[in-house]
């Protein structure tokens, strides 16, 4: 065990002293900060050039209303008035233009207006059909917005909202219904989402159910799964690289003169577990700190952290052993990448399947998938983080299956590691790897 510890400690020290680790620690917060910063800066860097648009109004009424609304909008929303009332422009001004269609149809007007858009004279043009106020007809009333690009939808969305509002107003008026009354009658109180009430056994007092934060109750389980995935991915694939590098640089041979292949692999696995736990302490610690400061720590079901640590250990040993074996079996990084593909599919399986699991954590699909050992650590953890959590027997079964599978992986990887580490030349096929596993 002394030698295993010696290998583990050296692996750990090599990893935490590397630039990759420092960059890795800083990467997530830096990426998040950059992403948020870009959003903020990007929002201020919007295109505020005037948006001129043409309207072909077959009703004869809509254009007037839209033009009036445009004036109101331009007066109130285009400039950031601020305290002194003369701030910078923050939004584009809309400039409407009525098209006198005469007897021409929309189809006849379309090429001419399209050409103006292409020349940059217009941002787009809109056809408003004469029948848009009609109700009870199956044919959809015609309102059509034409533009060269449909990525900037501010103008189109505004027009759609404004015209829809006017259409509703006219329809209520024609039907002789007071809209204010309708609004009053159709408004209903919002439903509160609560947890379950209970009785305090010590005092006998009723403990009222707490308000549920839907976003937080979704975010916590998904957040735990993503964090576990990150912890696995930040430590286990590194094993492949170090094993392969040691093999290519003939360091393995020196090490094997002092330790057995299994001791060497186990030391490397423990080193990666230590590395991953270091990262967990940093990430999880800062997350807990932020939640505690925001008074939201109670959103995390008790015991979830303990499950996280346990599942982190299992998944690191499981995937770490597989990655080590792949590294030992190959002599070139290119060969390793080919063998990595099926392994990566296994690692990413929970990622592909997490949405249906988080939406229906107790469905047969969720139960079955969370009992599939390679997916158990991430998916069972996610289910545990969703109150009330899975039944105890499912957690126990998942643990037993995953532990057995992990031990199997470590054993098989040890066999591959032993033979692969001294083998040279072409990477073995999966069939050959299987042969190594069953060899004496």
């Amino acid at each position: 065990m002394r030698k295993v510890w010696c290998v583990a400690w050296t692996e750990y020290c090599n990893a935490v002293r590397s630039k990759a680790f420092i960059i890795g620690i800083l990467a997530l917060p830096v990426i998040m900060a950059v992403a948020i910063g870009l959003q903020i800066v990007g929002a201020k860097q919007r295109d505020i050039r005037d948006r001129k648009f043409a309207m072909v109004d077959r009703t004869g009424e809509i254009y007037t209303v839209v033009a009036a609304r445009v004036r109101e909008r331009n007066a109130r929303q285009v400039f950031d008035r601020g305290a002194e009332g003369s701030g910078p422009q923050v939004r584009p001004a809309f400039i409407p233009e009525r098209v006198d269609a005469g007897t021409r149809t929309d189809a006849e007007l379309e090429p001419e207006l399209s050409a103006r858009v292409k020349r940059g004279e217009l941002a787009g043009f809109i056809f408003v059909g004469a029948d848009i106020f009609d109700t009870g007809t199956d044919a959809a009333p015609r309102i059509a917005w034409h533009a060269q690009s449909h990525t900037d939808n501010e103008l189109a969305d505004w027009l759609e909202r404004t015209i829809a509002e006017e259409v509703r107003r006219v329809r209520f008026e024609r039907a002789g219904v007071d809209r204010a009354v309708v609004n009053r009658l159709t408004s209903v109180p919002a439903m509160r989402r609560l947890g379950l009430g209970s009785v305090d056994t010590a005092t006998g007092r009723v403990v009222k159910a707490k308000e549920q934060n839907k976003l937080a109750t979704m975010a916590v389980p998904v957040g735990f799964m993503v964090l576990l995935y990150m912890m696995v991915m930040s430590a286990a694939p590194g094993l492949l690289n170090t094993v392969l590098e040691e093999k290519m640089q003939k360091i393995s041979e020196v090490l094997l003169s002092s330790v057995s292949p299994f001791q060497l692999m186990l030391g490397k696995l423990f080193g990666s577990v230590m590395l991953s736990y270091t990262l967990s302490v940093l990430y999880l610690g800062s997350t807990v700190g932020m939640l505690w400061k925001a008074g939201m720590l109670g959103l995390i079901p008790p015991g979830t952290f303990a499950w996280f640590i346990l599942f982190q250990l299992l998944s690191l040993l499981m995937f770490g052993a597989i990655f080590s074996a792949v590294g030992a079996a190959c002599s070139e990084i290119k060969d390793a990448q080919n063998l990595m593909l099926p392994v990566m599919m296994l690692v990413m399986l929970p990622y592909f399947a997490f949405l249906p699991v988080v939406q229906s954590p107790n469905s047969p699909f969720s139960v079955a998938l969370s009992l599939f050992p390679p997916a158990t650590p991430m998916l069972m953890l996610m289910r545990i983080a969703i109150p009330p959590g899975p039944p105890a027997w499912q957690i126990a079964l998942g643990l037993v299956l995953t532990t057995a599978f992990t031990l199997g992986c470590v054993w098989a990887a040890g066999k591959i590691f032993r033979i692969g580490l001294l083998s040279q030349g072409q990477a073995p096929s999966l069939a050959k790897l299987a042969k190594w596993v069953v060899s004496k």
């Binding site: 002394r2 030698k3 010696c6 290998v7 050296t10 020290c13 090599n14 590397s18 040691e246 640089q249 003939k250 360091i251 393995s252 041979e253 020196v254 090490l255 094997l256 003169s257 002092s258 330790v259 057995s260 001294l422």
Partner: protein, 314 residues
Amino acid sequence: MIAPTEPAAGRALAVRLTNVTKTFGAHTAVDDVSLEVPAGSIYGFIGPNGSGKTTTLRMILHILHPDRGDVEVLGERSTRAASDRIGYLPEERGLYKKMSVRRVLGYYAALKGMNTRDTRNATAFWLAKMGLEKWADKKVETLSKGMAQKIQFVSAVIAKPRLLILDEPFSGLDPVNLEVLRAAMLDQRQQGTTVIFSTHDMAMAEQLCDAIFMIYKGRKVLDGTLASIQERFGVDTIRVRTTGGVDALKGLDGVQLVRDLGQSQEVRCAGDPQELLKSLAARTRVQLFEVAKPSLHDIFIRIAAPAAEEGKRA
């Protein structure tokens, strides 16, 4: 622990291989090899590339396990129990490029069970001995090839091994560094360490080794002291230097093989050397005529290379 086996001569054995065979697929790398390496000796392993030297060394190190036969090292049979008492320098050097010299040596020493204080002292001692004190905290990747080779050697001896296995320790070294390593190796033997080293440098093997083991196509073909090996091959070698050079030897009776060394020639003679001298003197001016035992180089070539390729018949 099993006590080191006493050989017939009464001297303890460091290594004993008994009918060892190792195959890789259809290829037999080592075929029924038996060997006894006395404790405290320098044992040279020679053989052409791919003959099974490294496989044999790896079996002694228990990196590989034989398919058949027994491997006994420092009294331990077929286990890794002796690994802490064995130092190993592989043919292709294996050092962590990104680690400092001190950390690499510390790691390798710790794997051999050395404590921190002893490691610190031994590191300082060996770096001073090798003239590399200033490089202790430099990364291995900054070392020259010669320096790296010396560090690799230090990593093999830092934990005071009882058995030192050196696979091609002198390859690629300049004469100065070669001399440093050679002296360090002899020091180890002086302190009672058994040294097994493989080499392609026959002159070095002749100079350093108490005994020589040659493996060819997986089979043992030579094993013993240089004198006993030379004895086996007889006194049929004549070193000649004439003004006529190699051409003067053409067509002479009794000349089996001529190896042209440039300034002189080495002749394998089947007949009477005196008759050969007479014939040669009749043709050219003889500057040197020495009847000698065959060199290890010559013996190696006699075993490992077809005569047509390595020499030319007279």
